[in-house]
């Protein structure tokens, strides 16, 4: 199997940052491209990590995505494409995986949503259940971002 394109989900959390670092290392080793994806919600975080209303701070959130959350890929050899779409995180990630024709999905073990809830499904578990390509969950045991 060949991995040409790796999708990594980013949301400003420390776990997503760890997933981005791991994805970058893997992409370098495989000579693959990165597709960095963020699902814009009703609220988001800006460059300083402050929770903001996405409707009135859309530019700040996109700047955070570009300048902060994608920083692990900066100055490296890996080609990176950024995709930001409005919607529920799992649905955005799955749709982007299809439209960007990726070979692998990489997610942090927890997002800004905190610890996954039994019966309600975390973003990573819902993506893993429905994805058409392999999904890697990068473990992270530090504190949540929020």
């Amino acid at each position: 199997m060949t991995v040409h394109r790796i999708l990594v989900g980013l949301d400003g959390s420390l776990a997503a940052h760890r997933a981005a670092q791991w994805s970058d290392e893997l992409a370098r080793a495989l000579g693959a491209e990165i597709v960095a994806v963020h699902a814009l919600g009703l609220t988001d975080t800006d460059q300083t990590g402050t929770r903001v209303m996405t409707g009135s701070h859309r530019g700040d959130v996109l700047a955070a995505f570009d300048e902060v959350w994608c920083a692990p890929f900066a100055n490296g050899p890996t080609p990176v494409r950024q995709v930001a779409r409005d919607g529920e995180p799992a649905e955005v990630l799955l749709a982007a995986a299809r439209s960007e024709v990726v070979d692998l999905i990489v997610l942090g073990s927890r997002g800004t949503g905190g610890v996954p809830q039994r019966g309600l499904g975390s973003t990573s578990s819902r993506v893993a259940e429905s994805a058409e390509v392999p999904v890697v969950i990068v473990p992270f045991h530090g504190p949540p971002t929020d």
Binding site: L42, R51, G55, S56, E88, G114, Q117, G119, L120
Partner: protein, 340 residues
């Protein structure tokens, strides 16, 4: 006479300090309502929705999981949707407030109802809550009416698309769902060519407008797209997902409506109801407290046929040119037999 059904007195749905969907919203709404119609309204008592009533639109597994999460102190359904230990019971009473309003109207208690509840509901789908919403309040009331054999039109003027309501009634021939919303914007759904399932093709109506849209475009959409659909559907009831985050001061949306625009929208939906006592407005979004209070005051005053000072109506920088394109796209989709 206006029926007011609320869950403000036992609101235990606590959210963090930064969160825009907070308790103070209901305080602003109730203050606005009572400043307008304190002498001409019926305030209903507490009435929780039963599990059977909620399960008409949500899976029992989701209801149980939400209840269990709240029982252990709460948590996060997603980065936007946070629950505390009291959120489940508050959501159950929010859903029940809508059902109580419908029952009161049926018994002749008033000409229209305003359901002042939180958390809001229109993003909550069959299997999960999202976007601040836990149970879909307007859908739970609509489903109760459908079970009695009645036809329901749901008009959604919140700035966000009601993806949960669309999902729940996608293939339901006794419910017409029409939404005017900003696009692009969360939740990223509500495309023009989403028109309903095979048993309800054409009964989902999505009218997406860009940021900067004003009242003039919204009113044209009501008159040129929604009104003809209502005429053809002939509903027994009109329910409204009445979010007020399309106001120009709201931090979550990019429309530029004023409180005066909401007076005109209220007149439109009142005219769609087949008779007095068959119209209920359900609070959805609206996160600038001053704008929310101004819009609710104007809306309730209009429902009660009272003169009320409101901001001048607006003409946005975009939107009007979209109407013809929306009509053309719906026609193309209908010609092609598209369903999703």
């Amino acid at each position: 006479m206006i029926v007011v059904s609320a869950n403000a007195d036992d609101d235990r749905h606590e959210t963090p300090a930064w969160h825009p969907e907070r308790r103070e919203r209901l305080a602003a709404v109730m203050g606005a309502i009572h400043s307008v119609v304190d002498d001409d309204c019926v305030a209903l008592g507490r009435r929780p929705a039963s599990l059977d009533e909620i399960a008409r639109v949500h899976t029992p597994a989701y209801v149980r999981a939400l209840k269990d999460l709240c029982a252990v102190g709460g948590g996060e359904l997603d980065p936007d949707t946070i629950v505390a230990d009291g959120s489940y019971v508050t959501a159950v009473r929010a859903a029940g407030a809508g059902l109580a309003a419908i029952d009161a109207l049926r018994e002749g208690a008033g000409d229209a109802a305003f359901v002042a509840v939180r958390p809001p509901g229109h993003h909550a789908g069959v299997t999960r809550g999202m976007g601040f919403c836990l149970f879909n309040n307007v859908a739970i009331s609509a489903a109760a009416l459908v079970e009695r054999g009645e036809r329901v039109a749901i008009i959604d003027w919140d700035v966000h698309h009601g993806n949960g309501t669309q999902e729940i009634f996608w293939d339901e021939p006794n419910v017409l769902y029409a939404s005017i919303h900003q696009s692009p914007l969360f939740p990223g759904t509500g495309h023009v060519d989403d028109m309903g399932g095979v048993n309800a093709t054409g009964l989902t109506i999505n009218i997406p407008f860009p940021a900067g849209t004003g009242g003039n475009a919204i009113l044209r959409a009501f008159d040129e797209v929604i009104a003809p659909a209502i005429d053809g559907f002939e509903p027994d009831w009109v329910l409204v997902s009445a979010g007020f985050d399309a106001h120009r001061d709201d931090p979550l949306g990019g429309f530029v409506l004023s409180s005066g625009d909401f007076a005109l929208l209220t007149r439109r939906v009142a005219a769609y109801a087949p008779q007095p006592g068959r119209l209920a407005l359900f609070l959805e979004g609206g996160y600038d407290l001053n704008a929310l209070a101004a819009c609710v005051s104007t809306t309730v005053a209009t429902l009660d046929d009272r003169a009320w000072p409101s901001e001048p109506t607006t003409t946005g920088v975009s939107g009007v040119d979209s109407i013809r394109a929306i009509q053309d796209e719906r026609q193309r989709s209908a010609d092609n037999g598209a369903s999703r």
